[in-house]
């Protein structure tokens, strides 16, 4: 519950901070956000499994984001839309993670 409050607080802070990402980096930021979202959902899923490791989670969060952004950047340089790979991979994993979370939560309800 507290992480969701953190997310909302972050949204509000972000909206009110007088800063926005330059258009040139907008694409990379979008892919990085996708990766970060996947990491957060993965972390949530893992914590429901009881397999949550803070180091793995943090490394995944920052590592995935940077890698996704880097991939998009390299793709732009090479003329290949590599960011599609990131979108596909992380989109896929987001749904998998969400599926896991859903199943765990429903099972928990069943157990009750």
């Amino acid at each position: 519950m507290i992480p969701i409050l953190g997310l909302i607080a972050g949204l509000i802070i972000g909206i009110f901070l007088p800063f926005h990402i330059p258009q040139a980096y907008s694409n990379y930021a979008a892919v990085a956000i996708l990766a970060a979202l996947d990491s957060v959902l993965g972390g949530f899923s893992a914590s429901l499994d009881g397999k949550f490791h803070i180091k793995v989670f943090l490394a995944g969060f920052f590592g995935n984001s940077l890698l996704a952004a880097l991939l998009a950047f390299i793709g732009d340089r090479l003329g290949i839309q590599l960011y599609l790979a990131a979108v596909f991979a992380f989109g896929n994993r987001i749904f998998i993670n969400f599926g896991n979370i859903r199943r765990k939560l429903l099972k928990l309800d069943e157990l009750r």
Binding site: P3, L7, I8, G10, L11, I13, H20, A32, I33
Partner: protein, 232 residues
């Protein structure tokens, strides 16, 4: 440990939220900016065309105005020239009428009674007449300019010229060819010969720079109130 995990997760979520919000903002802003730029570009092109047209118009206007200025300057020059010509001709007319002080080569003659006979108006008149006959251009007696309407007459012991009483010695200044005038004055039986008979003291001096003053211009010597020009 549980608290630590939750805190880490919360912080990461906070970070994610901030980045998402930034991205949202930037996408919006960039969209608006792009639209604005696009709109501005077409508008700017239109404005540019309009301004170019204006520029052309103004250039032609400048040319027109420059031509006008040139024409006015020409006019002004013409006017100036006209005024100069007028001034010159007015001056010439005044010189002809004897209204201007003039100078030139000529004779300065002084006549004074030798004691026997008074210098009379007729003597002076005779001298002036002789000078006029020898192409004199300007004469004055005791600085009284002789013009077309100048009288020379007797007034008791004096001579009257231009309504002024003159007293001897009489100084006659004449601008003209000095040699010619001298010759005609010195003719046998001429004016100077008569003067010798009357025993007048006569001085005759050629001068390169005889200055003869203009007639006084107060309407007493030259009157034009009865004159109407008849233009053919």
């Amino acid at each position: 440990m549980k608290l630590f995990k939750t805190m880490a997760l919360t912080l990461v979520c906070l970070l994610l939220g901030i980045v998402v919000a930034w991205q949202y903002n930037s996408v919006n802003a960039n969209l608006v900016l792009a639209q604005y730029e696009k709109k501005n570009l077409s508008q700017l092109v239109e404005e540019l065309l309009l301004e170019r047209e204006n520029n052309e118009k103004l250039k032609t206007r400048i040319e027109e105005l420059q031509q006008e200025v040139a024409a006015l300057k020409d006019d002004e020059n013409m006017d100036m020239k006209y005024v100069e010509d007028l001034k010159k001709s007015v001056l010439m007319a005044r010189v002809m009428a004897g209204l201007e002080t003039v100078k030139g080569t000529g004779l300065v003659i002084t006549v004074e009674s030798g004691g026997q006979i008074r210098v009379r108006a007729s003597h002076i008149q005779e001298l002036l007449n002789e000078l006029k006959a020898s192409d004199v251009q300007a004469i004055s007696v005791n600085d009284e300019r002789i013009v077309a309407t100048s009288e020379v007459r007797e007034a008791g012991d004096y001579i009257m010229i231009n309504g002024r009483q003159l007293v001897p010695p009489y100084t006659i200044k004449a601008i003209g060819d000095p040699d010619k005038m001298e010759r005609s004055l010195n003719l046998m039986g001429g004016v100077l010969a008569k003067y010798q008979v009357y025993e007048f003291n006569v001085g005759l001096e050629k001068n390169e720079n005889v200055v003869i003053p203009g007639v006084r211009d107060d309407g007493t010597v030259i009157r034009t109130d009865k004159l109407t020009p008849v233009v053919p």
